[in-house]
Amino acid sequence: MSSYVVYVVGAGLLLVVGVHGALTARHLVRLILALNVMSGGVFLALIAISARGAGSAAGPDPVPQALVLTGIVVAVSITAFVLALARRIHALSGRTSLSEEDLE
């Protein structure tokens, strides 16, 4: 078993936790947490690939690293936007989820 296997299995586990969370969460804050965990899993898969194998003797592949770096910034943008929407929804309707029968 190599580090590569450990980390891509970890990427799969984060995907499982994130997708399950996204399917079951109702509160908007939980939903954005689940989305961020999912994107963490995708980033982990990319970087695990970049760190292994033939090219890695000279150092990891910088292309996936640059992609994930932009991905982290895009993730924080989406998080901020969803949180702003959640605050607005809460301020206007007092609700914190998108389902019809609200839990509050």
């Binding site: 292309v63 607005r88 301020a91």
Partner: protein, 313 residues
């Protein structure tokens, strides 16, 4: 089994458990704190996978700034919802089945993925000398895949505009300087702010030849801005609408201008003339750092402006 591999396994197991508990914590405040822990563990993973640029960015943006946004949002909308109604067996099992199926397929595909070598990394390393910078990740971000980074700065700009749009404010309303800001925090900020600006500048400078660069520098600067916001003095609020907009768009437009220069001089968008490449990259990085930092502060401060909430009723 080596100690390194054991550490990797412990890290992955910890990451998964923390992620699950963050999403499903009964108290959202605890969930937000656990998410910060998740971000810091992920930063450790990036160190293990030889990606120090990502570790810096993850710790500063993924854990720090995202965590601050979450904690602040939870304070407003975090009243714990009543427990979800007990689901039927199908309602409980189906999400797990779907998620596990997807994760197993993804992990299976990745584990069996053939390592063919001949990666883009070798091409980048072979030609990094032509790019005008010495650090491969910076070369990819600003030269070889300049498009991606340019549009990504655009995404951040759109997000900042969208947050202001949702809040229905054109400028940030300065909240009255908070009298309750604890003196000890103000005093600590007095030491941290200059140090943070210095570290941000250092990260920007070091990015041309070592891990660091515009994103990490901007994240540290934005953290300083958020610190000041938390002390009741939103740093962007004293700016006129015009100046705020200039700060927000200067990164995107400088990048665009450099692209057009490439189009005119070198016949290709975002291809920089070899003689001036180092300078052009430095100017773009400076402008992008300022814009990203301003956008991140706005994403935080724009979301938390309560006056607009009360006005909306």
């Amino acid at each position: 089994m080596t100690a390194g591999l054991l550490f990797d396994i412990a890290l992955v197991v910890g990451l998964t458990i923390i992620a699950f508990r963050a999403i499903h914590a009964p108290d959202l405040f605890v969930g937000a704190v656990l998410y910060i822990v998740f971000g810091l563990l992920l930063a450790l993973v990036w160190v293990r996978l030889n990606a120090p640029d990502l570790a810096l960015a993850e710790a500063a943006i993924g854990a720090g700034i995202t965590g601050a946004m979450l904690l602040d949002a939870v304070r407003q909308v975090g009243s714990p919802a009543r427990r979800a109604p007990v689901l039927t067996r199908i309602g409980r099992v189906a999400p797990w089945a779907g998620a596990v199926g997807l994760g197993a397929v993804a992990a299976g595909a990745l584990v069996t993925l053939e390592d063919r070598g001949g990666t883009l990394g070798e091409m980048v390393r072979g030609r990094v000398a032509e790019s005008g910078v010495d650090h491969p990740v910076t070369a990819v971000l600003l030269v070889f895949r300049g498009y991606d980074t340019w549009l990504e700065v655009g995404v951040l700009l759109v997000a900042a505009i969208a947050v202001l749009g949702v809040r229905r404010t054109r400028v940030l309303v300065p909240s009255e300087p908070s009298s309750e800001a604890p003196p000890i925090a103000t005093a600590a900020a007095g030491v941290l702010l200059p140090a943070g600006v210095l570290i941000g500048g250092f990260l920007l400078w070091t990015g041309s030849h070592a891990p660091g660069g515009a994103f990490q520098a901007a994240a540290v600067l934005a953290a300083m801005g958020i610190l000041v916001s938390l002390l009741g003095r939103p740093p962007l609020a004293s700016l006129s609408a015009l100046r705020l907009r200039l700060l927000l768009v200067c990164g995107f437009t400088t990048f665009l201008a450099a692209g057009v220069v490439g189009l005119l001089v070198e016949d290709a968008f975002l291809r920089y003339p070899a003689a001036a490449a180092g300078w052009i990259i430095t100017v773009i990085e400076l402008a992008v750092t300022v814009s990203i930092a301003a956008s991140l502060v706005l994403l935080f401060a724009g979301g938390r402006d309560r006056a607009a909430d009360e006005a909306a009723g």
